[in-house]
């Protein structure tokens, strides 16, 4: 447990609490900075707002990033390569797309390019709602990332 002062208030936070608090949250669109929590990219201010109850206007992205980095979360800028996204394989994107989709197995996803997941959620309705709320378009498409080959091609005997 670590103690932080944000917007004049003191909070005791630990990584597990952060992960629990955002587990049911869909990440807002990432503009410039993000942190990786439970394998998903969140705007830092969204995470700190969620775990502290503060209004986003009460603190800066820099403060939010600093707190989350101290708690051990990866923080980066959009456009920077994330270490976990190493691609290796066949296919038109050399495995890059499969690597981007792998953390979202079993989830409904909307993508704006072959390897950029805008949102991943448990139901297609959540994805549609998120797109409408944030006025975003899944230019590449949406579908559910399969957890087994059967979910891709059926379960007929091979």
């Amino acid at each position: 447990m670590a103690r932080f002062t944000i917007a004049g208030q003191t909070f005791e936070l630990d990584p597990q609490r952060v992960e629990t608090e955002v587990a049911g949250e869909l990440p807002d669109p990432v503009k410039e900075h993000y942190v990786v929590v439970n394998g998903r990219r969140f705007p830092p201010k969204q995470v700190i707002e969620r775990v502290t109850g503060l209004d986003r206007a009460d603190f800066t992205t820099h403060q939010a990033r600093r707190v989350l980095k101290r708690l051990g979360f990866t923080a980066a800028r959009a456009g920077e390569a994330e270490p976990a996204e190493t691609a290796n394989g066949d296919g038109p994107y050399g495995g890059r797309q499969a690597a981007a989709l792998a953390p979202h197995a079993g989830k409904w996803v909307a993508l704006d390019s072959p390897d950029h997941v805008l949102v991943a959620a448990s139901t297609p309705q959540e994805v549609l709602s998120w797109l409408a709320r944030h006025e975003r378009t899944a230019g590449y498409g949406m579908f559910r990332v399969p957890t087994t080959p059967d979910e891709t091609e059926g379960i007929a005997p091979r």
Binding site: G91, Y93, R96, A98, P124, V127, A138, M142, T152
Partner: protein, 132 residues
């Protein structure tokens, strides 16, 4: 119009499949990635899609559907699909449950309207509307 196959994460290796984006009615913000299924007679979509576009299937007769080794229930209706820039009125069977990851594009609702070239060796498919 050419589309690259999709790469899917697999347990041992990457899975590549021929899919293309399909706009359903006016759901522009969320085109559905659909699998080209040359062995399927009809288009088969998850029933949630009908709900999403406000297509009321109340009273539409339900039938048993067998696809990909799956037995499910389906209701058939018509809806506008837009593929490769062509919008057309297509027959679709909306299925529930639908455990597959993709909606399926079959012969009567897709292939008869488009000329499709598949090159699995290079992971792409070309889709051109047939002459009207």
């Amino acid at each position: 119009m050419r589309y690259d196959f999709i790469e899917l994460p697999g347990a041992e290796s990457t899975l590549v499949r021929p899919v293309l984006p399909v706009q359903i009615e006016d759901l522009e913000e969320a085109p559905q990635l659909c699998l080209v299924d040359t062995g399927s007679t009809a288009n088969h979509f998850g029933a949630w899609v009908a709900d999403a576009i406000g297509l009321d299937l109340t009273g539409v007769p339900e039938s048993t559907i067998r696809v990909g080794g799956l037995v499910t229930s389906g209701r058939s209706a018509r809806a506008d699909l837009t593929i490769s820039g062509r919008r057309y009125d297509a027959p679709i069977t909306f299925c529930e449950p639908w455990p597959l990851s993709f909606n399926l594009l079959g012969q009567e609702g897709f292939l008869r309207f488009f000329r499709v070239t598949i090159c699995a060796a290079e992971f792409w498919l070309d889709v051109e509307p047939e002459a009207a």
